[in-house]
Structure formats: structure tokens, C-alpha cells
């Protein structure tokens, strides 16, 4: 193993950039050697497949829920469509939408025609 990294006192305080660079390179090289590829455990594959199956199961549940929601939305829109097709709107009234017009339309039959003669009689009394 390269031990160059472990004797930094040789470099001292006046270590040049080039020296520091090569020191860092040797450190990285030593790190690569100090961390070999680990062997997988015997449970690696079974655990991996268990995770895959769990992810598949959750995505299946999600897709089923999504399908159910889409079906429900389609059904609701069909029902709404049928309802709106069978709905016949009431005849258009003479009401132009103003409050005065509405009041006038509502009470026009309750009012008696103005009896000018009777009022004048009252005034005379």
C-alpha cells in the first residue's frame, strides 16, 4: 500500500501546490485500495426481489384506484349528460330580470283598476 500520504511532515508548511496535488492524488489512490468492492451478502438478491415485488404491488393498487376513479368519473359524466338532455327549460317569462319588473309581473293581477270616480268621491266627502 502506498504510504506516501501518511507522512505529511515531510511536506511541512512550505508544501508547494504541486506537492499538495500529488499528495492528494496518492491519497485518492490509497483510498481506492483501502475500499475494495465489498462482496454482496447472501440476502442481497432475495431482498432486492422482495423490494421489487412490494413496489409492483403498491403500483398495482395505485393503478387500480386510478382506474376506479376514471370509471366513476366517466359514469358521472354520462349520467349528467343524460339528465341535461332530458331537462326541458321553463318557458321564457316576460321578466327582463329587474326587480321592478318582477314585482310588477307578480302583483299585476291582484291590483284593481284605478277607480278615478271613487277617489274623487272620497275627496268630495
Amino acid at each position: 500500500m502506498n504510504n506516501q500520504w501518511s507522512s505529511p511532515r515531510n511536506g511541512g508548511n512550505g508544501e508547494s501546490d504541486a506537492g499538495a496535488n500529488s499528495h492528494l492524488d496518492s491519497l485518492f489512490h490509497a483510498y481506492r485500495e483501502a475500499c475494495p468492492d465489498p462482496a454482496p451478502s447472501v440476502n442481497f438478491m432475495p431482498e432486492m426481489w422482495a423490494k421489487i415485488e412490494a413496489r409492483q404491488a403498491s403500483s398495482t393498487i395505485f393503478s387500480r384506484m386510478a382506474k376506479a376513479l376514471v370509471t366513476a368519473a366517466l359514469g358521472a359524466s354520462v349520467i349528467m349528460g343524460l339528465l341535461s338532455a332530458s331537462y326541458t327549460p321553463p318557458p321564457v317569462s316576460a321578466n327582463d330580470g329587474s326587480i321592478l319588473q318582477a314585482l310588477a309581473n307578480d302583483h299585476v293581477r291582484d291590483l284593481e283598476p284605478l277607480q278615478i270616480e271613487r277617489i274623487s268621491e272620497l275627496e268630495q266627502q
Binding site: 483510498y31 481506492r32 483501502a34 475500499c35 442481497f44 432486492m48 421489487i52
Partner: protein
């Protein structure tokens, strides 16, 4: 490439045995890369399983064999990065965080361990991981891929989908930050060594 494209195509069609062969061919390399990227041996298998899980569910997007390995590396980098982001904790005190006295004590303890090769390896791992902790997680991963894994700029381009020039700039800056830390640790150790000599 460690496997034939035909095997990948079989795995794409849902052949579990073919997928097992792909995993078997690459898992050791992926485990090694992850262990050097995240520096926590106890979580390496979990992250590697996440990589192969992502591979399993995205394998149908693979069209050409030459992009498979950069793509697998990309999945590895992303899973490692996600892990580091989630954990956001450092397992133990790093050399760069220690006081001068603590550095001397750690050196003394490590000195006895250094009698054996395993002790030496332990010191290297601790030193490099402490140096890499001075840069962001992204730069740490990029530096590790370049300097430790030995990936070329061309391969990094394929993984990161950025130009070679911007990779060079980012690598240079990250390396400068690590170098600054190297000099600091070296200076502190040099000082403590000369005070030892004076005693």
C-alpha cells in the same frame, strides 16, 4: 460491457432470470462504487438494491447497448445522492472537525492501528472521507467518480449530460477546496509533530 445486449433485451421482456444475471454481473462493482461514495458500509446494500430496483422499472427505456453502463452509473449516482441528502448526518467526527489536541490523540491511536495493514486502511478511509466532507455532496460524488473510480471526462459527460468544460471547471473548484483542507490538516499535523519533537 459485462453482459451481452441480448441478455438485457431478455430482461426488458420481463425475464427474471436474465435480470438476475445482469444484477449478478454488476452488483459487486456497484456495491464498491456506492461504498466509496457514501462511506457508510452498513447502508451500501440498501442503496445498491435501490439502484437495481430503479433499473428494473426503467429498463424498458433502454434502446442502445452503449448507453447502458453510463446509465447504470447515473442511477448509482442518483441513488447515492438521494441517500446522502436523506441522511444528512456524519457518522463520526472527521479529522477536519477536530481540535489540535484531538488530532494528536487520534494520530496516536491511529499510530498503534497502523501497525497492521487494516489500521492503515482505516486511517486512509477516515482521512479521505474527512477531506471530502469539505465539499458539497454533488462535488464529493463528482470528485470520487473522477479521482477514485477513475472515470474519464467522456464517461462523466455521459452520466451528467453536461459539457466537458463545465465538468473541468467544477472538478477544478472542488479539488481546490479539498486541497486547501489537505494543506490545513498537513500544517496542523506538522505543527503537532514538531511540538512532539521539541518535548
Amino acid at each position: 460491457m459485462l453482459v451481452e445486449f441480448e441478455l438485457l433485451q431478455q430482461a426488458q421482456r420481463g425475464d427474471a432470470s436474465a435480470f438476475n444475471q445482469v444484477v449478478t454481473a454488476y452488483r459487486r462493482r456497484i456495491l464498491g462504487t456506492i461504498s466509496r461514495l457514501i462511506g457508510r458500509p452498513e447502508d451500501v446494500e440498501d442503496v445498491a438494491q435501490e439502484v437495481f430496483l430503479r433499473l428494473y422499472f426503467s429498463l424498458d427505456q433502454l434502446r442502445t447497448p452503449e448507453v447502458f453502463e453510463p446509465w447504470l452509473y447515473r442511477l448509482t449516482v442518483n441513488a447515492s445522492y438521494d441517500y446522502l441528502r436523506k441522511s444528512k448526518r456524519r457518522p463520526e467526527s472527521r479529522m477536519s472537525d477536530l481540535s489540535e489536541q484531538q488530532v494528536m490523540m487520534a494520530d496516536a491511536a491511529a499510530g498503534s492501528k497502523a501497525q497492521t495493514e487494516e489500521g492503515e486502511k482505516h486511517r486512509v478511509r477516515d482521512t479521505v472521507q474527512s477531506l471530502l466532507s469539505s465539499v458539497s455532496e454533488e462535488d464529493r460524488i463528482l470528485l470520487t467518480l473522477k479521482e477514485v473510480e477513475g472515470l474519464s471526462l467522456r464517461e462523466l459527460e455521459q452520466i451528467y449530460h453536461v459539457s466537458e468544460n463545465s465538468l473541468k471547471v467544477r472538478l477544478f473548484r472542488a479539488r481546490q477546496r479539498v486541497l486547501k483542507n489537505v494543506k490545513g490538516v498537513t500544517r496542523r499535523r506538522g505543527n503537532s509533530a514538531s511540538s512532539d519533537d521539541g518535548l
